[in-house]
């Protein structure tokens, strides 16, 4: 099933790229469409941050939990404020959580 997700996402993402390079630029003239597409990455990345950091699988389905991951995220914020590169941000988040679990 994971392979189906990988291949489905691959085909879909390629078609989204090809569509952008093929349809006329005037499609962007629709302000509702453009604003939605501009906001979509922001909203979804924020949702992914929240879910990755605060949700755990529970006996009755997913539930909220505060644990070492939140400290990892806080460390990532500090790293980003210090303008650390991507890989340093990720490493700092992992290291903080790992140290708290020792």
């Amino acid at each position: 099933m994971i392979w189906l997700a990988v291949l489905g996402c691959a085909v879909g993402c390629y078609l989204l790229k090809l569509a952008g390079m093929s349809v006329p630029e005037s499609v962007l003239a629709n302000p509702l469409l453009r604003r939605t597409a501009d906001l979509l990455p922001v909203v979804m990345l924020a949702a992914l941050v929240a879910v990755q950091v605060l949700v755990v699988p529970g006996p009755d389905g997913p539930e909220l939990s505060i644990d070492a991951r939140l400290a990892g995220l806080a460390a990532a914020v500090v790293a980003l404020l210090l303008r650390a590169p991507f890989i340093v941000v990720v490493f700092v988040a992992a290291l903080t959580a790992a140290l708290l679990r020792l």
């Binding site: 099933m1 994971i2 392979w3 189906l4 997700a5 990988v6 489905g8 996402c9 879909g12 993402c13 390629y14 989204l16 790229k17 569509a19 952008g20 390079m21 093929s22 604003r35 939605t36 597409a37 501009d38 906001l39 979509l40 990455p41 922001v42 909203v43 979804m44 990345l45 924020a46 949702a47 992914l48 941050v49 879910v51 990755q52 950091v53 605060l54 949700v55 699988p57 389905g61 997913p62 539930e63 909220l64 070492a68 991951r69 990892g72 995220l73 990532a76 980003l80 590169p85 991507f86 890989i87 941000v89 990720v90 988040a93 992992a94 290291l95 903080t96 959580a97 790992a98 679990r101």
Partner: protein
Amino acid sequence: MWGWLRGLDVPTRAIVRDGVAVGIATGAYGLSFGAISVAAGLDVWQSCALSLLVFTGASQFALVGVIASGGAPVLAAASGLLLGTRNTLYGLKVAPMLGWRGWRRAAAAHVLIDESTAMSITRTTRQDARIGFLSTGLAVFVLWNLATLAGALAGDSLGDPRTYGLDAAVGGAFLALLWPRLDSTRNRVAAVLGAAVALSVVPLTPSGVPVLAASVVALGMALVARDDQPSEEA
């Protein structure tokens, strides 16, 4: 290292060198992607297939993130696709500059990503835009895939990902992708609302649904927006 560039004229050389530099920098993301992907439960082959075939970082991270949280594969793919829509916007902006048709356009579309867009959109001539697009796109493609393989093999040999905090690394990775977009009040409000909507439906829905549910915030905010300023996105 740059000896092969001597055959090119000076401005062209500078554009290619910038593209390769961006490739090396983003290749480093690939290491963390590979490690996070195997920690999420994908195998090395699936992780490499994502980087080869999907080849757009945020969508790949979204797919493995939803799988990591126990979401159904179809929801993981849907999250990846929704994040892939931004490449459509990039394409609309760079296609007139690049001016490719037929198979060239079909091939170029695969390396249409944030970096290749950014390195071509600012050029003043079609020739420079094409060189910027291709050198950046190809450099990122090669290094992203090599790094994914290295990261996946390293992650595979680590054992329990929680011991190394790799589950916390996923949140850090998404935040790092989000961070440069938090440059306006509108985007910061959208981010807070998106996170709030996702968390509020967590107790009610299966894994993977909250992230998709958050996407209605984008449509909702676009509907109520009164000002219609031109997009600042590249």
